[in-house]
């Protein structure tokens, strides 16, 4: 487990609530572990989903550790720096990724990236500290080694 980085991007005010439905996810993240919900038949679920759309099962979700590899689905660049939540001084990317588990997350990067992210890029998630929580971000060095584009 790597030590969490001090975040370059957001202020403590942006920390997510550790209440449900993020409790198990954030408990895992605090340990450097990506834990996400599945139905009892192994289908990926959203954080707050009560019934699986694929098989109708409504048993409580099973939270499992998943690999941190992900694929870039789309990306945007936030230019408006909203000072209530953001401390970055430059435009920053937000990237939609799909984990190998099938879960999709919107994440930024663990540091200011040198290059933009392209759809199809393979990336790896790490964690940064925001307030009392740790949250997932794309690990920038891994990205630069594994670029598919440009």
């Amino acid at each position: 487990m790597k030590a969490a980085l001090e975040d370059w991007l957001v202020l403590d005010a942006a920390a997510p609530s550790t209440d449900e439905p993020l409790r198990t996810f954030l408990d895992g993240a605090a340990l450097g572990d990506l834990r996400l919900p599945f139905c009892t038949n192994g289908h990926p679920l959203d954080f707050d989903q009560g019934r699986c759309e694929q098989d109708g099962s409504s048993d409580p979700p099973v939270w499992e550790s998943v690999p941190s590899q992900a694929t870039v689905i789309a990306s945007i660049v936030m230019h408006r720096i909203e000072k209530t939540f953001v401390k970055a001084l430059v435009p920053y990317p937000v990237i939609e990724v799909e984990l190998v588990s099938g879960h999709r997350l919107y994440v930024s990067t663990d540091r200011e990236p040198a290059l933009s992210y392209q759809t199809g890029d393979e990336v790896k998630l790490t964690f940064v500290s925001v307030g009392e929580t740790r949250i997932p971000r794309i690990q920038v060095e891994e990205h630069n080694e594994n670029r598919s584009g440009q």
């Binding site: 920390a15 996810f25 939540f85 953001v86 435009p91 099938g102 999709r104 930024s108 949250i135």
Partner: protein
């Protein structure tokens, strides 16, 4: 559909930039205007339906409005949340209540005073999602406000269809042309290509001029029985159809499409209730939080091909004299943004023939397409000068 109810009064208050009246003050002002417009007294109102406000502002209209506005005994009073579609949905619910004899004269109300001295609209909107759940996690990643969510929808649209970034500009330019004729519009000058391109990105690919123009303000629409609707200053506007769709937008595989799934079905259903199709619509009013939305809805409704709405708009088809005049008051992007109010007020204005410089000649059927959330929620409201068939 029964012709039991019609729209007889409208009150719209768009606050000046230095007017920080409370939401309740703005609301009561709009109701007074609507009553004068409909030729009725406050005492005639026996129903009040309140549009839930999504913003986390402290100053909101609540059900206390009944007491604050001295409405006496009401037969209907509730607040509803259907995201951006709420105002349209409430007008249909007012119609249904009147048709069922539950009330005679119903006010549908929205008010917003989220902007305070020194607090920009961006800050008000960025805080919207809160800290919990999926939205809270997104916020911790710097994904702030609806603009970021719609920037992703725009990114998908641009990468998965033949559309280009210039299509967004085309909508901004076309709607600004319409805004010139709207005295409520925030900006009423021609939008040049250079001016658009000089507009800073907020959430790339969306620029500031791709975004709606939030204002403090209020709107009241009076729905009443068809016989009472004749007493106002303007022609009665009938509610000819209404339909909704809501879809699941899941955050995992198998992937939910980013497209406005359900919008086309709501549109066809609402028109079909009076035996109409898209070809019968004279003016289209689209809820446009961003320039992206008119593009994808023109395509969903079959006016343009997938990825082809930009060409359609550049060809003038949504402008004056075009095949489907769209957002004829400038839309939320070029006039003012009061959640779902803007397209409804403009549709009524056009059917009444009070559009002035922006009036579409012989407009008699208007379709209002509202969206909510991240395009999970859709509604269409069809207004008709004729008594519905």
């Amino acid at each position: 559909m029964t012709a039991a109810a019609a729209i007889s009064g409208v009150g719209l208050v768009v606050a000046e930039r230095d007017d920080f009246s409370t939401a309740t003050t703005l609301a009561l002002r709009a109701i007074d205007e609507a009553c004068a417009d409909a030729g009725i007294a406050i005492g005639d109102i026996d129903g009040l339906l309140l549009n839930h406000n999504e913003l986390l502002a402290d100053d909101k209209v609540t059900l206390d409005i009944g007491r604050q506005g001295a409405f006496g005994e009401l037969r209907l009073l509730y607040e509803l949340n259907a995201k951006g579609t709420t105002f349209s949905v409430l007008i249909d619910l007012a119609r249904q209540a009147i048709a069922a004899g539950r009330a005679n004269t119903v006010v549908v109300l929205f008010a917003d005073a989220a902007m305070r001295p020194g607090v920009g609209s961006g800050a008000a909107f960025a805080a919207m999602g809160g800290s919990r759940g999926q939205r809270g996690l997104e916020r911790s990643g710097g994904m702030l406000g609806a603009v970021a969510a719609y920037a992703f929808l725009a990114a998908h649209y641009l990468q998965e269809t033949p559309a280009t970034a210039d299509d967004l500009r085309a909508v901004a330019v076309a709607q600004r042309e319409w805004a010139k004729g709207n005295t409520f519009a925030r900006t009423r000058t021609t939008l040049t290509n250079d001016e658009y391109l000089a507009s800073p990105f907020v959430a790339e690919p969306l620029r500031r001029l791709d975004c709606a123009r939030p204002v403090n303000g209020a709107a009241a629409v009076i729905v009443t029985t068809a016989d009472r609707a004749g007493s106002g200053r303007h022609r009665a506007v009938h509610i000819a159809g209404a339909a909704q769709r809501s879809i699941e937008r899941r955050r995992h595989a198998p992937v939910s499409p980013w497209e406005p799934v359900g919008a086309a079905e709501a549109f066809a259903d609402a028109l079909g209730q009076s035996g109409m199709t898209a070809a019968d619509v004279n003016v289209l009013q689209v809820y446009d939080p961003f320039t992206l939305v008119p593009l994808i809805l023109l395509e969903a409704f079959g006016y343009a091909e997938r990825g082809g709405a930009g060409d359609f708009v550049r060809a003038g088809q949504t402008g004056p004299g075009g095949s489907i005049p769209t957002n004829t008051g400038g839309g939320q992007v070029s006039s003012y943004y009061l959640q779902g109010v803007t397209p409804v007020i403009e549709a009524i204005t056009q059917l009444r023939g009070t559009g002035g410089a922006r009036q579409v000649i012989d407009a008699s059927v208007a379709a209002i397409a509202a969206v909510g959330g991240r395009l999970e929620h859709h509604s269409t409201l069809v207004l008709d000068l004729e008594v519905p068939r």
